[in-house]
Structure formats: structure tokens, C-alpha cells
């Protein structure tokens, strides 16, 4: 698992949201390539190969990072800042997922170089549609850097 190619890195503290996201991705056959991490701290260790992920080959960058903003300890903004300011990781596309378009951090996200910004819809159908489109775009349509 440690050196397996990770296609989608989902960083989401809400287990329920994560479960629904993974279910939606699975529905559209993206699920086997998802790695879910529950907080920003762990995510940073994973991305930069530190802490318990010290042995991970970090040149195996995920193709896209789905990032929740509101997380305890290290929040999404912090993760985004670190990813986008490091030469090794700044080309990884980051899609921010949030519950609200009211989020005051939207502007900060764009300043930090977020690639996309998605408000999680309430309705489950809408939610799965959004996830599906997201997966198709970033995994299938977008020509990512290898």
C-alpha cells in the first residue's frame, strides 16, 4: 500500500461526508484509487512523506487532492498553503470541498492557487453528480503532470 499509485487523495474530517464521497466515486468506478485521510496533520505527513508516512515514495504524487476546509488541528487552508508552496507538490491539482459558498476562505483559497472550488450540495443525487463530474474531469479529461 505504501508505494501504491494514489489517484485521489480525499482529506475529509467528516466520516459521513467521506463515506458518501467514496460511495459516489465507487459508483462511477473511481473508488479503488481513493485514499482517505481524516485530518490535515496526517495529510501533510502523507503528502510530504514525513511522520508515519516517512517511507512513502513521495514522487508518487496523487493525481488530484480533494480537500475539506473545515478540519480540526491543521485546517484545509494550511494544507493548501503547504502543497502550493512546495516545488515537489505545487503542480498537484487541489479541489476544495466545502459546505458553504459563504465561506470567508474562498478568496484565500484562490490566492493560494486552488484549482477548483466546490460547494457540497445537500441533495444526495446532486452530491453524487458533483463527485462524478469531479472525478471524470480530474482523472479522465485533465492531462496531469507525471
Amino acid at each position: 500500500m505504501k508505494n501504491r499509485q494514489v489517484e485521489i487523495l480525499l482529506i475529509e474530517d467528516s466520516a459521513h461526508d467521506a463515506e458518501m464521497t467514496i460511495r459516489a466515486l465507487r459508483k462511477h468506478n473511481f473508488a479503488n484509487k481513493v485514499t482517505h485521510l481524516g485530518d490535515g496533520d496526517e495529510a501533510l505527513d502523507f503528502i510530504f512523506g514525513t511522520g508515519k508516512y516517512a517511507e512513502r515514495n513521495i514522487s508518487n504524487n496523487p493525481i488530484v487532492i480533494l480537500l475539506d476546509l473545515k478540519m480540526p488541528k491543521v485546517d484545509g487552508i494550511e494544507v493548501l498553503r503547504k502543497v502550493k508552496s512546495d516545488q515537489r507538490t505545487k503542480t498537484i491539482p487541489v479541489v476544495v470541498l466545502t459546505s458553504s459558498k459563504e465561506d470567508p476562505d474562498v478568496k484565500t483559497c484562490y490566492e493560494l492557487g486552488v484549482n477548483s472550488y466546490i460547494v457540497k450540495p445537500v441533495g444526495f443525487d446532486n452530491f453524487t453528480d458533483a463527485i462524478k463530474e469531479l472525478g471524470s474531469y480530474w482523472l479522465l479529461l485533465n492531462t496531469h503532470t507525471k
Binding site: 459521513h16 460511495r23 459546505s99 459558498k101 459563504e102 465561506d103 457540497k120 445537500v122 452530491f127
Partner: protein, 566 residues
């Protein structure tokens, strides 16, 4: 003159005459004592006399010469005087009280407007014909008093000239007496000094006005005057009163004595640069009184400029504005509080939208998962109940979104452009028709253009048109009509439907947030649409109202201030 011979013998009468002559010569000092000593010899007497007479004659000659000279000088000085009087435009008169002959200069008569000397002139002519009636009494009194006391006189009075011009003159004169004290001559001078008098009066007037201004300023303002270094050399009572210093404590000090320390160095520097360059400085200054209390003054500093165009003193005129400043500070505090409340509200809005939506998403999502994964073990009732859960979760999501939209409007700025309302209404109708299926006929009239925010006005029309379509959906032939008309400087737009209407007694509830006049089972909705309409129209300076009858349709009106560019 030849020396006389003194060889004849004299008689006694001669001797007597000789004696008189001798005394005369002595009196005029033409005989000196040495000669007197020689006269003891009678034979020499004649010679001595002859010598004396010769000397006397010589002296007389000198005397005559002297007198001739002094007459010359006298004539000279008289003509000088005449010239001086003439040049200074001073007229004069001269009255011999013994011979009653009088003398006047031409200038004298010219002062009264005559071209040439009058044949006759008298005090009565002067007083009754020429002195201004209002001045006559005091002139006569002054003159009579001077005569009776034998003193000099001086007065200023108005005269009416022969050409009716009123002029100011001054008159000065003197009475001369002989050795016995008898009055023998009067001499008077006069001059037309109207221009000087008027200038004087103007000066007095402007001095008085200046005094009045100063009084008014002192009464109404706090005034201080400093020299060019800022040293106070004048303060008025108001200054003392507000600063609580005695006058002597302030004079000789500079304004640092009342410095509150409130203002920055730059502020003070700017003030000094301004006035040192001769410009007026205006501003509000916080000062400290003697007892340590603070006061605010609206201050005007006026530099007074000397001939070298440099300020030589500064006048500071101040008015107390402590109360106003207090109110301003209060206002500022309130505004800050308001801003804080607004910010709090904003973050509340965010957490409402975030924290409320997340569980709703889970409710709907997991209900859906049950539906997908366990539909085989659920009977129809179980499935229906699950749908109710999902329906309500979604509805709550819409409510939250509407509420957020509504609170958004409060912060949004209206950006007015010229909006073609007919075009906009057609676009709004298309938007509504895409969102809800309906069979309503919608008639859009020729609408007046509006000066409005395009996106917000679109929202208004979408809300009103969809309302009209929604509430007429149960009518046989649903009809929605959109019109506009100009009344009293406003354009009034109306959206009329032939739907279910409402009872006017509830009209006041129409525009409240979450206020609904129909059950959700009858007509869907969150009760935010009309509240949004009202908020937008109010922001445009217009009004919203409605007219309806139950089951006979409703008309919603909104007014907008007239579009000037239209």
C-alpha cells in the same frame, strides 16, 4: 556832516539851551565821561557839543538805515505769510476795532464759494448766512465767549456755501489789546478741511466698527493673539474661562500650556508650516485646561502679514466643540459596535450554512443509501417514510439557501445601469419557465426603462413572475400581466395574476421573511421571495405593495424613482 565851530560866546539863554542839549546828548550816550571831564573849561564846551552832535548825527543815520532795513524785512515776512496762507488755502480776516476797518483775503471769501472778494462782509453774514443752522448756536457762543474773555477761539463747524455745498471749516482767531488792555484788533484764520474731516470721521467710524467686531468676536469666540514665535500676548475672557487659566498665567506663554498631547507631531508641524507661510489654518484641536480636563475647539488661525509679507502675529479664533466631539466619538463607538455585530452576523451566517447543511447532507445521503441498498427489505410504507425524511431534508436545505440569499442582499451594493425592463422581464420569464412547468399566459407590456441593478432587478421579476404563475396555477386559464406607468415622478411596475389571491387583512404579512399566506401543501415556497423583492426595491429607493381579493387574483406593485436618462 561838518564839524561845527564853537568859538562864539554864548548868552545865558543859550547856556540853558545848551544844557538841555547836553542832557539830550548824554541821554543818547553820544558824550562819554572823558569828554564830560574836559567840559570843565567853558571855552571848550562848544567844541564838545559839536563833537557830540556830529556823533549823534552819525548814530541817527545808522538808526535810519536800520529802520529802513527792518521795514524791508517786515514787508518780506508779510509776503511770506501771505504766500503760506494762500498755499495752505487758509483764509484770513483782520478787524481794526479802533478804525473799524476790515481786511479779508480773497481765499477767505473763496472758502464760502465766492469767486471774488465781496464788497461787504460781517460776522452776521458769516453766522446767519453761511454757518450750518445746526452749528450756528455753538459757533456764536464760542465766539462771544472768546470776545468777552479776550481769549483765543477755535471751532470746527459746517458751512453752507453760496453754491449750497456743505463743507467743514475750522476757524481760529485772537484779540489784540493795547498797553491799557483795550481791545484794538481781531485777527482770524479759517480753512476748509472737509476732506480731512471726512477721512477722520471715516477713520473714527471704522475704528468703531473694528471695536464692534472685536466686541462681537470676544463675546462669541475664544480669542488669542500671539507674536510670530507663538508667544501669547492677548487672550480674551472666553479663553481664560475655557482653559481655566488666569490671564497673567497665559500672557508670555506659548500654546504648549494647553497642549493635550493628543495630536501628532506632523499635525502640529503642518499647522505651523501653514500659518508661517501666511495661510489661514483651520482644524479641530484638543486642548487641556489647567485642571487637567480636556476640551475640543474648532480653530481658525489667521496670520497677520507685515509689509515684508511675513507674518508678525497670529490671531487664533476658536469655538468649543467638545460636545460635538463627544457625540462623534460616541457615534464612532456605535459604528464600531455595529461593524462588530455585522461581522459576527456574517460568521454566524457562515456557520449556519456550513454546520446546518452538513448534517442535512448526511440525512439525505444516508436515507438515499438505505433506499439503494435495502429497497428489497423495505415495504412501500417504509420507502414512503424514507422519502418524507429526504423531502424535509431537502426543504430545509432550500430554506437555508434562501435565508442566506436574503441576508446577502443586506450587504450587496446596488450598481445602477440603464435597464430595459421589457427585455429583462422576458428573460426572467424564460428563466421561470425553465424552472417550473406551467400553462400560464404571460403578457408583457411596453415597460418603461429603469435605472437599476440588473441582477437584482432580474431577481425581483423572477420572484414576482414565478409567484404569479404559481398562485394562478389552479385557475382554468392562468394569466399573468406585467405593465408599467408613470405617476408623480415615479415609474410603477405591476405584476397581476388571476390566481387565488389573498385576504387584504393579511397584506401586512406579505413581505416578512418566512411569512406565508398559504399552506405548503397548497403552494410550495419558503416565504422568502417577497421579502427579497421588498429589500431590493427599498435599496433602489422605491416601494412595494399589493392589492388582492381572495380567489380573484393579486397584483403586486413596485415603484422606482424616474430614470433621468430615459
Amino acid at each position: 556832516m561838518k564839524r561845527m565851530s564853537a568859538k562864539n560866546k554864548s548868552s545865558s539863554a543859550d547856556s540853558k539851551r545848551m544844557h538841555t542839549l547836553f542832557n539830550l546828548l548824554l541821554k543818547y550816550s553820544v558824550l562819554d565821561f572823558s569828554e564830560k571831564a574836559i567840559i570843565s573849561n567853558k571855552g571848550d564846551e562848544i567844541d564838545a557839543f559839536a563833537a557830540g552832535i556830529n556823533t549823534l548825527a552819525e548814530k541817527l543815520q545808522i538808526k535810519i538805515k536800520e529802520i529802513t532795513l527792518s521795514e524791508e524785512t517786515h514787508r518780506q515776512s508779510e509776503s511770506n505769510l501771505k504766500f503760506a496762507l494762500d498755499a495752505s488755502q487758509t483764509g484770513h480776516w483782520d478787524l481794526d476795532l479802533i478804525t473799524h476797518t476790515a481786511n479779508r483775503s480773497l481765499r477767505h471769501d473763496q472758502i464760502f464759494g465766492y469767486q471774488t472778494l465781496l464788497p461787504e462782509w460781517s460776522y452776521e453774514v458769516f453766522l446767519n448766512k453761511h454757518v450750518h443752522p445746526e452749528d450756528r448756536k455753538f459757533v456764536d457762543e464760542t465766539f462771544q465767549r472768546a470776545i468777552s474773555r479776550g481769549t483765543e477761539w477755535y471751532f470746527e463747524c459746517r458751512i453752507i456755501r453760496v453754491d449750497n455745498l456743505i463743507r467743514w471749516i475750522w476757524a481760529r482767531g485772537q484779540i489784540f489789546k493795547d498797553e491799557q488792555g483795550k481791545q484794538i484788533r481781531m485777527l482770524g484764520f479759517m480753512q476748509d478741511f472737509t476732506e480731512r474731516k471726512l477721512a477722520e470721521e471715516n477713520l473714527l467710524q471704522s475704528l468703531k466698527e473694528t471695536d464692534n467686531y472685536k466686541y462681537a468676536l470676544d463675546e462669541s469666540c475664544i480669542v488669542a493673539i500671539t507674536d510670530q514665535r507663538g508667544i501669547i500676548n492677548y487672550v480674551n475672557d472666553n479663553f481664560c474661562k475655557i482653559s481655566k487659566y488666569q490671564r497673567h498665567e497665559l500672557i508670555g506663554q506659548d500654546h504648549r500650556i494647553i497642549n493635550s498631547g493628543h495630536h501628532s507631531k506632523e499635525f502640529i508641524k503642518n499647522l505651523w508650516t501653514t500659518i508661517a507661510n501666511g495661510k489661514v489654518w483651520r482644524g479641530e484641536i484638543k486642548n487641556k485646561a489647567k485642571d487637567g480636563t480636556y476640551y475640543w475647539v474648532d480653530t481658525t488661525l489667521v496670520p497677520f502679514i507685515n509689509e515684508q509679507e511675513k507674518p508678525f502675529q497670529y490671531v487664533a479664533i476658536r469655538a468649543e466643540i467638545t460636545e460635538r466631539k463627544k457625540q462623534e466619538e460616541e457615534q464612532k463607538k456605535l459604528n464600531e459596535q455595529l461593524a462588530a455585530v455585522n461581522k459576527e452576523l456574517e460568521s454566524f451566517t457562515y456557520s449556519v450554512s456550513h454546520d446546518l447543511r452538513a448534517p442535512l447532507r448526511a440525512i439525505d445521503g444516508f436515507a438515499n443509501i438505505i433506499h439503494e441498498d435495502y429497497s428489497k427489505v423495505l415495504d412501500d410504507e417504509g420507502k414512503r417514510l424514507l422519502e418524507v425524511v429526504q423531502y424535509n431534508a431537502k426543504k430545509m436545505g432550500i430554506l437555508i439557501d434562501d435565508l442566506l440569499d436574503f441576508s446577502h442582499l443586506g450587504r450587496e451594493e446596488v450598481q445602477k445601469t440603464n435597464v430595459d425592463m421589457k427585455e429583462l422581464a422576458e428573460a426572467a420569464l424564460m428563466e421561470v419557465s425553465r424552472a417550473i412547468k406551467h400553462k400560464a399566459e404571460v403578457k408583457i407590456g411596453n415597460l418603461y426603462a429603469a435605472s437599476a441593478d440588473y441582477a437584482l432587478m432580474n431577481q425581483v421579476l423572477v420572484n414576482l413572475i414565478s409567484n404569479g404563475i404559481k398562485y394562478s396555477s389552479k385557475t382554468k386559464k392562468p394569466l399573468v400581466e406585467i405593465r408599467s406607468e408613470q405617476i408623480n415622478g415615479e415609474v410603477i411596475y405591476s405584476v397581476k395574476d388571476n390566481g387565488t389571491g389573498f385576504d387584504m387583512q393579511y397584506a401586512h404579512k406579505l413581505f416578512g421573511v418566512f411569512q406565508r399566506l398559504h399552506k405548503a401543501e397548497e403552494f410550495e415556497g419558503t416565504g422568502v421571495g417577497l421579502a427579497i423583492v421588498q429589500r431590493i426595491i427599498t435599496k433602489h429607493g422605491g416601494k412595494v405593495w399589493a392589492e388582492a381579493k381572495l380567489n380573484e387574483g393579486a397584483t403586486f406593485y413596485f415603484s422606482l424613482p424616474i430614470n433621468k436618462t430615459n
